[in-house]
């Protein structure tokens, strides 16, 4: 049946800057904020915005992501008409199908899918941002402006602008120029990687782009400049609120810490804009007789007997008596044994930190030098008394004693 707007969520990225955390899963499936995975944010935004048809474009390590999405029930996206669709690359007539060559090519290869719903508008999203946004309001703006393309933008500090794709706009917020990571930015309006296109327009540009052998088939590099060059009406939609790209270890850690702070702008307790997730069935968490927990998030199946400060614990984490966890993110099933210390670290699923081990350290005062967040990969065991320094990434079991 015809839909007014269909969302296409680009979830095929490898997320290589998350290193060990994405060695087995696509970036959108990385656990976030105690109960979620990154993709829960755009998916929940869709359903909260009244968009009930979402295509999720997968390519890299899709199995866990596919299983997580399932029939879309946790997001109320199990629909008899519409709902969530996983869209991997596929073989086409005469073996002409390919891997998704770029973001625009991924949509190009699914023109057939979009035609099933024959939408007026297509919303392009990516699966690596944490934010709450009403796409319905953006769509209303797009219609009001009569634009071919509306790009959601965020005002960033001028000194950071050179790290983003910057939109230069006229006084009516019509975009006249796009600069990818400009050395000398003319404005501070950063693209959030959220686009609404009038579908008939986008389809033409996708087909033209595919015919151009020199194109990298990317929205930012190719489609947007082509549309600007052709004089299409492109408008900037100013978003005010929390938005964070969690593509790096540091930004992922930062965004998790933001979940703990009321003032950060990302409020998971706001009942008017819930974030949904597929949660495992776990009993309530237990805090032991000597537990000390402050400024932290704890969820189902956890057992805390030690000290937890400024940290985010996912389900079924065990912090034994005498263990200390500070400024860290412990993903599902992590065990921190007696006397172990975890500081400024991200510990991935089912890792075990044995007795008396030390993982990570607080940043030095003054010059940070090569200090950074420590990462322990999935299923890794850090042996008794082992010491893992700051900024390390542990992807092999560590014998008791000292670090590599």
């Amino acid at each position: 049946m015809k839909k007014e707007c269909v969302a296409m969520l680009l979830a095929g990225g490898q997320g290589s800057r998350l290193y060990a955390l994405t060695s087995r899963v696509a970036k959108p499936a990385v656990p976030f904020g105690g109960k979620y995975r990154i993709i829960d944010f755009p998916l929940s935004n869709c359903i909260n915005s009244g968009i009930d048809t979402v295509g999720v474009l997968t390519q890299y390590q899709p199995l866990e992501l596919n299983a997580y999405l399932g029939n879309g029930q946790p997001w109320d996206l199990d629909r008899s008409d519409g709902g969530v669709h996983v869209l991997p690359p596929y073989v086409q007539k005469g073996d002409s199908g390919t891997w998704y060559k770029g973001t625009a090519n991924a949509i190009y290869q699914n023109i057939g899918f979009l035609q099933l719903y024959n939408p007026e508008y297509v919303l392009i999203l990516s699966g690596d941002h944490i934010y709450k946004m009403d796409y319905g309001a953006m769509l209303a703006y797009h219609k009001e402006k009569g634009a071919a393309c509306t790009i959601s933008v965020l005002e960033v500090p001028m000194e950071d602008a050179s790290r983003f794709g910057i939109m230069n706009v006229d006084e009516e917020d019509n975009i006249y120029e796009f600069q990818e990571k400009p050395k000398e930015p003319k404005s501070n309006l950063a693209s959030m990687g959220i686009y609404i296109f009038t579908w008939s327009k986008l389809r033409d540009y996708l087909i033209a782009d595919e015919a151009n052998p020199d194109s990298s088939n990317d929205f930012g590099h190719d489609i947007i400049p082509a549309m600007l060059g052709a004089g299409e009406k492109m408008s900037a939609y100013r978003f005010k609120g929390y938005w964070k790209d969690v593509g790096t270890i540091k930004s992922l850690w930062d965004a998790n810490m933001d979940m703990l702070s009321e003032g950060s702008g990302i409020d998971p307790y706001d009942p008017s804009w819930p974030i949904y997730a597929r949660s495992p069935t776990k009993p309530p968490h237990f805090t032991g007789p000597d537990a000390k927990i402050s400024h932290s998030m704890v969820t189902g199946g956890c057992e805390v007997y030690g000290t937890v400060e400024n940290s985010v614990l996912f389900n079924s984490v065990i912090v034994e008596k005498g263990a200390t966890v500070r400024y860290s993110i412990l993903m599902p099933g992590t065990v921190v044994k007696a006397g172990a210390t975890v500081d400024y670290a991200i510990v991935a699923e089912n890792a075990v930190i044995d007795q008396g081990a030390t993982v990570g350290s607080a940043p030095p005062s003054g010059d940070l030098g090569d200090w950074g967040i420590t990462v322990v990969a999935q299923d890794i065991e850090v042996g008794d008394g082992a010491v893992v320094p700051a900024n390390a990434m542990i992807t092999r079991n560590l014998e008791g004693g000292a670090a590599k």
Binding site: P268, T281, T299
Partner: protein
């Protein structure tokens, strides 16, 4: 194999001694264990044993239960065919006693046409007001292997109030040789009120009891036929909680703070499923303290919590102290309030600085939606 078993839950019992807790609901939908309704345990037992068709017999005060169960989606029981079926009371025009429910046989008579349409060969009958995690798959296997007419699950660690429990005497032949119904003191193994029997036996028993005006399963079926039917016990000594009074509710809840009790009730292979509410994690503030407590998701704790059970979405503000309490869903304890030995039902609001104190033997219970 397990789709040869059909599940029936009796979900109409209402214990007057639960006072405020059953003002808005029957015993089966009393909140328990931080995020569950009692019926979740039996329903999950069924689902974890692979049962796909479940009938739930309700009688009065069941709006809360309907709201909780919904379509059965959270237990994977929302199916094209079968799945969860709520069986409310209805009378037959040509029957004199239609709709009356004096006991389980009356309740079964009231849903006779449903029973006749059961596709499975065997039926498990169980109460929806007991919190227990049963290996129902094994119980069914034993039922088939033993050739029993009725398999009766019972425990050697009596938990319930004898005056409202049944007890089995087990003979040297391993069969139930006597059934004591509601004695003054426990005698033998206490029934956990879970029975497996064949559909055909069930139908003939229901027919017989209806024709002879026998309303009670314990007396009319078990006791009356203890020598003519082969009733075989299945002994389950793990944790089981029956909630029959406010002090009993309080004691059974506090037992959940013991790791061995939680290990019995929350078995990883047999998870207890409940209605999903999509809560975020629980947040502990800078000055929060939570010791020896069971805390569900979606809480915001900024005060002190000791020896307590907090359901989903509870708020404990700064300076508030909660000790030996059970705070049900969305309770708010404002700044500086002190609560000891208190049970607050859903959406209770305790204003700043209030002091509420019950005792272990007489916990204070605050009814749903009240403001103190």
């Amino acid at each position: 194999m397990m789709n040869k078993l059909h599940g029936i839950i009796f979900a109409y019992r209402s214990n007057a001694d639960l006072r405020e807790l059953t003002q808005h609901r029957n015993t089966c939908s009393v909140p328990y264990g931080g995020r569950y309704r009692i019926i979740d345990f039996m329903l999950s037992n069924f689902v974890n044993a692979g049962i796909v068709d479940v009938g739930i017999i309700v009688h009065a005060n069941y709006q809360s239960l309907l709201d909780h169960l919904g379509s059965g989606k959270d237990w994977d029981l929302s199916r094209k065919h079968g799945g969860l079926r709520i069986l409310p009371p209805f009378g037959y025009a040509n029957k004199q006693r239609g709709g009356v429910c004096r006991g389980r046989m009356d309740a079964l008579e009231g849903v006779y046409s449903y029973l006749k349409n059961i596709k499975q060969e065997h039926v498990v009958l169980a109460g929806g007001d007991i919190a227990v995690n049963l290996p129902l798959r094994d119980i069914y296997k034993q039922h088939i292997k033993s050739g029993a007419d009725i398999t009766a699950v019972c425990t050697r660690n009596p938990k319930g109030d004898p005056k409202s429990s049944d007890y089995f005497t087990i003979g040297a032949n391993g069969r139930v040789t006597d059934v004591s119904v509601h004695p003054f003191a426990p005698m033998g193994c206490e029934a956990l009120e879970v029975y497996i029997l064949s559909k055909s036996l069930l139908l003939s028993l229901v027919d017989h009891c209806a024709a002879h005006n026998i309303p009670s399963f314990s007396q009319g079926v078990l006791q009356a036929n203890v020598h003519s039917l082969n009733i075989v016990p299945y002994i389950f000594d793990g944790y089981a909680a029956r909630l029959q009074s406010v002090p009993g509710y309080f004691a059974r809840s506090m037992e959940l703070l013991k790791p061995e009790v939680r290990a019995d009730l929350f078995v990883p292979d047999r998870p207890v499923k409940t209605k999903d509410q999509s809560n975020p994690s629980t947040y502990y503030g800078d000055d929060a303290s939570s010791v020896n407590s069971l805390v569900a998701d979606g809480c915001i704790i900024e005060g002190t919590v000791r020896n307590s059970i907090l359901f989903r979405g509870v708020r404990v503000e700064k300076g508030a102290v909660v000790e030996n309490c059970i705070l049900m869903q969305s309770t708010t304890i404002q700044q500086g309030a002190v609560l000891k030995y208190t049970i607050t039902d859903k959406n209770v609001h305790v204003n700043p600085g209030r002091m509420l104190m019950g005792h272990e033997t007489y916990p204070l219970a605050i009814a749903k939606n009240e403001t103190v």
